[in-house]
């Protein structure tokens, strides 16, 4: 039939706008989004800062002046810019109560904190989006069961359960052997995901419910699209804005939760530093040292969360083709 697909009637010929045919191969949707993101100054600032922080953490082995667990009790609470010993590098941000170099610990801490935050956020969004989209698009008893389950999870007091779970999971020999040396990190990620997906799933469900009755969803059904296609290529992409906002807010919350867990002694175990447990160690330091002890990890958390928020803001806009940027 394709040979017959040429316009024959005059009305069609007229309707073709006399626009010069521009390049047929235009850029892909991702490069379009990237171009739009680049115009968002704050997002680019966020992206740049994040890359810097990630780079700093990854290359801590080479860049850090000291190992994170090198104790020098003679130099406890050294102030900013205090010189190191014979031929050793200076303690730019001072030392903590055990004489460990704070800058080095900050760099190593970024590894754990960023890994936990990133993995938790991605997994939370994944689980929450799937749960919410399935609940919203199926409706009926599927929706009821999934959402009542989410309600149940929300009513559980998470902090006590987090504590019980993390300590009992850590004592489970088989599990720790299976997870290897990173057991405490992986356990924290799992716990934060299991208790963190409900908010996202509600957001996504709400957005899916409003989208579900739109004609383009019915159009997909009418042309024979499967339910999976309806969910993953129509409902979820159109719910991306609330998902990104939830992810950027969640990222900061995860860093804080991890520090809360570490504070209570159920998070990542010392001497491995995270921004969270460094913050909590600062709690015991004398007032005059609080500035270097608490503000340096605090500033890293602040900077990371801020960058992620800027980046998320830009991403949300860049991924919406309707916005003129």
């Amino acid at each position: 039939m394709s040979s017959a697909l040429t316009p024959q009637s005059p009305s069609q010929v007229q309707a073709v706008a006399p626009v010069a045919v521009r390049k047929l191969k235009s850029e892909s949707q991702w490069s379009l989004a990237w171009r739009r993101l680049r115009r968002h100054k704050l997002a680019m600032f966020g992206l740049f800062t994040l890359i810097l922080i990630v780079f700093m953490s990854i290359s801590a082995d080479w860049l850090a002046p000291y190992p994170y667990d090198e104790i020098d009790l003679g130099k406890a609470y050294a102030p900013l810019m205090s010189p190191g010993g014979d031929g050793l590098p200076a303690h730019i941000l001072g030392t903590d109560k055990l004489g460990r170099d704070i800058l080095s610990r900050l760099m190593y801490a970024g590894r754990i904190s960023l890994t936990v935050a990133l993995a938790t956020t991605i997994l939370t969004m994944l689980v929450g989006t799937i749960m919410g989209a399935v609940a919203g698009s199926f409706g009926g008893w599927v929706d009821n069961i999934l959402m009542r389950f989410a309600d149940l999870m929300l009513t559980l007091p998470d902090l006590p359960i987090l504590l019980i779970l993390s300590s009992s999971l850590r004592q489970n020999q088989a599990l720790t052997e299976f997870l290897g040396s990173n057991a405490s990190v992986i356990i924290i990620i799992i716990i934060l995901v299991v208790f963190g997906w409900m908010g996202v799933s509600r957001l996504v469900r709400g957005s899916v419910l409003t989208l579900r009755s739109q004609e383009f969803i019915q159009a997909t059904q009418a042309l024979g699209g499967s339910r999976a296609r309806v969910i993953f290529s129509h409902l979820v992409p159109n719910s991306i804005a609330p998902i990104i906002v939830a992810a950027t807010l969640g990222f900061g919350a995860v860093i804080i939760s991890e520090s809360a867990l570490s504070f209570l002694g159920f998070g990542v175990m010392p001497p491995v530093p995270t921004w969270g447990n460094m913050l909590n160690e600062a709690r015991n330091s004398p007032l005059e040292y609080l500035f270097t002890q608490a503000l340096s990890p605090g500033f890293m958390i602040f900077l990371t969360v801020l960058s992620i928020n800027f980046l998320g803001d830009g991403l949300r806009d860049a991924l919406d083709p309707r916005l003129k940027l």
Binding site: S2, P7, S11, Q12, A15, V16, S26, A222, L223
Partner: protein
């Protein structure tokens, strides 16, 4: 009314939407009788117009035929297969041959997909083309509906209403269906654009021997495009006849009232036009009147109309009416 030569044969189609109450223990307290025993047929290559006022069940009829809503009862025979009992993969395969053009050109296109992706989606869903072939086919289809093929990479919001509706037409055409249900495809468009889209639909029909079910409330547009016309009122078809027969010799009092409301574009004739204004409001489809649906507003209503539901009879060759008062 059955007809073996018909492409689509709808028999006694019923669609009730349940009304549920209660938060925990949900129970049905009633039903919206959206479509209540609709029968008609469509022959290959013709256009059947389906008219009626807002809320009378026109769109629901169209969507139930396509199984976007599952029918409460009745049958829809399409090319000899009953769609109502069909499920899953079988039905999905069947959808290749019947497509739909939607009313709202703003809501019926996914705002996050490019026009090219929208038009090629049916091909990819049914595995009829790989990416490259689909791309070529998109160019072809865009040209066919009068759009610049270079627009394939643009998003729907960059188009006007009329252009978007052309995209919707291209999407419906991409699978080369035999039946297209046009659900008020022009009601959301400007008058000048309406004519363009209707002409496009007519041209495509000639080119590809398409069959249309054309749902609309614009009586003059339906007269222009249809070969036969069905008039719907509150979930039932009250009259079904050839276009000229229906417009020149309407038998059902509702059709007569409806047609008397069409203005005539001639001042002298327009002055003499006798309007038959119906009394009252359209009853709720939750509690439709007993017997004849139209009796509460009918100038001819008699005792029998409240008790017996009128048969849909063939009073003249291929002119069907559901009214006790028509001889």
């Amino acid at each position: 009314m059955s007809d073996n030569g018909a492409l689509l044969q709808v028999d006694n189609l019923v669609k009730y939407f349940p009304i549920m109450r209660g938060a925990v223990i949900r129970r049905q307290v009633g039903a919206v009788h959206a479509v209540d025993g609709v029968s008609f047929n469509i022959h290959e290559g013709e256009t059947v117009g389906l008219v009626g006022e807002s809320g009378c069940g026109k769109s629901t009829t169209g969507r139930t035929i396509l199984q976007l809503y599952r029918a409460t009862s009745g049958s829809v025979m399409f090319e000899g297969h009953n769609l109502v009992t069909m499920k899953g993969e079988e039905l999905r395969k069947m959808r290749r041959k019947m497509q739909m053009i939607f009313q709202d050109p703003y809501a019926s296109l996914n705002p996050r997909m490019t026009v090219g992706d929208i038009i090629s989606e049916p091909l990819l869903v049914h595995g009829l083309a790989n990416r490259k072939q689909a791309e070529e086919r998109v160019q072809e289809l865009l040209r066919l509906v009068g759009l610049n093929p270079a627009y394939a990479n643009r998003y729907p919001h960059e188009f006007s209403g009329g252009q978007r509706q052309r995209v919707g037409v291209a999407r419906a055409l991409s699978l080369q269906p035999s039946l297209i249900i046009c659900d008020e495809p022009i009601s959301a468009l400007d008058v000048s654009i309406q004519a363009q889209v209707v002409n496009l639909l007519e041209d495509l029909q000639k080119q590809f021997n398409l069959t249309y079910l054309f749902i609309a409330h614009d009586l003059s547009m339906v007269r222009h495009i249809s070969t036969r016309v069905a008039v719907m009122y509150l979930g039932v078809i009250v009259e079904f006849a050839d276009r000229d027969e229906l417009y020149e010799n309407p038998l059902h009092p509702y059709t007569q009232a409806l047609l008397s409301a069409v203005p005539i574009p001639d001042p002298l004739a327009e002055e003499k036009r006798q309007r038959r204004v119906l009394q009252g409001e359209i009853p709720s489809p939750v509690n439709p009147p007993s017997g004849c649906r139209f009796r509460t507003r009918c100038p001819l209503a008699a005792e029998v109309c409240a008790q017996v539901r009128p048969d849909f009879r063939e009073v003249k060759p291929s002119h069907f009416v559901a009214c006790h008062m028509v001889a």
